[in-house]
Subunit: 239 residues, 2 copies
């Protein structure tokens, strides 16, 4: 091996290490965000204000991680000029890290609603719906991060499809809570707190779906945003 | 001028043209998104279902523009390896185009709420609040796009500060609507529709703020996300 080859190999190893490091930091951030959503929901269901406050406090860690991941991506783009699938990885992580941070914001909001419900008194309804949607949304988030770790575009497509189910469950839950509000107007303020939790969960599902779309693009170069499921399925089946 | 110089100049002119083109397409998309928010609010206030339906239909144009801008950015990164402030421009547009598309989604939701209110009957309250918040939010959006066109980081910082004002106005409006709901439970469903409009407007403000943060980063290299106003102000004043 001559010097130039050694240098090229060295550069390329360093490059792969940088990409691997940023992907690993992105996934670590994903793990923390996932835990925040689980803790926020546990705090809500157990009426555990200490846990809710821990979630609120932890949010700044997620914010810092977002900035760190973006800085690493910037450094990689400036110094290493990634191309083809490496560039798609950089772009997909750059978009997805924003979604992770916003999921963190929703966990923060759920924790804040938990504190409000502790002060105002529990809502007479909505916990069963929140638990059910939360279980599905947490699964979506877990699955999309797992798919990210495995570069699995087909698993990402399953996450996209799961989001439609959540949207329907969310709409049904909202309708039943509106009916309950009308029957018992004194509960309005407390039920609105639970509605905010449901809305946050629904948004976590949207963000998980956004990450899934980026993952499909990253792995297969297929634009999954604003695209029919049939079209995505057809293109994924051709690979 | 020798051939190499000519080639370098040619490449650099082409590069600047590409950057200029993507910035101009981003701003054109911003103009359309701004119009969508204005039209959605006009449709709400005038109970104009045709206009609301036009907003709903237009949303797919915004979605296409998002994908086009991202494709252009990808091409620039793959072929031209932008560095320093050019790279920051590419990254800032890549983040901000997502916010523009989400603002488009909020205009879509306002238009959908308008159709629902037309079917269910108008809400007895909330229009004055929606009009007031909408005027401020539209101004923020206009100002941040204008600042983007002029590379004006200080104007972007003013947009960030305006968002805090909107958050307070939004909270006050929600509280007064909750009180009204309790007084007149038959209005709950219609008031919830107006609450959804207020929430969409508040989110438009958040997205305009995100774009402002990206703009400050693009022009001055200052990280404005998750950063105290005093710190941003101090750093902007040193420039």
């Amino acid at each position: 091996m001559n010097n130039k080859e050694k240098l090229t190999q060295h550069i390329s190893q360093q490059f792969n290490q940088d990409l691997e490091a940023v992907r690993s930091n992105f996934l670590a951030m994903g793990g923390l965000v996932e835990q925040q959503v689980l803790d926020a929901m546990k705090a809500l269901v157990d009426v555990n204000v200490e846990l809710a406050e821990a979630v609120i406090k932890n949010d700044s860690r997620i914010n810092r991680m977002e900035i760190e991941v973006d800085e690493e991506l910037m450094r990689i783009m400036a110094l290493r000029h990634p191309a083809a699938s490496d560039l798609r990885l950089v772009v997909a992580i750059g978009k997805s890290v924003t979604d992770l941070e916003r999921i963190g914001d929703e966990a923060f909001k759920i924790a804040r609603a938990t504190v409000a419900l502790y002060k105002e008194g529990e809502s007479p309804r909505g916990y069963a719906e929140a638990r059910s949607i939360s279980a599905r949304v947490s699964e979506m988030l877990h699955d999309v991060l797992d798919a990210f770790a495995r570069f699995d575009a087909k698993a990402a497509f399953e996450v996209m499809k799961a989001d439609s189910y959540i949207d329907r469950e969310y709409e049904a839950a909202m309708r039943s809570l509106i009916t309950y509000m009308m029957e018992d107007p004194r509960s309005i303020s407390r039920i609105l707190n639970v509605m905010n939790v449901l809305r946050s969960l629904e948004r976590v599902g949207d963000h998980a779906r956004n990450i899934a779309e980026q993952l499909i693009y990253m792995v297969q170069g297929i634009e999954a945003r604003h695209t029919d499921y049939d079209e995505i399925e057809r293109r994924l089946s051709q690979i």
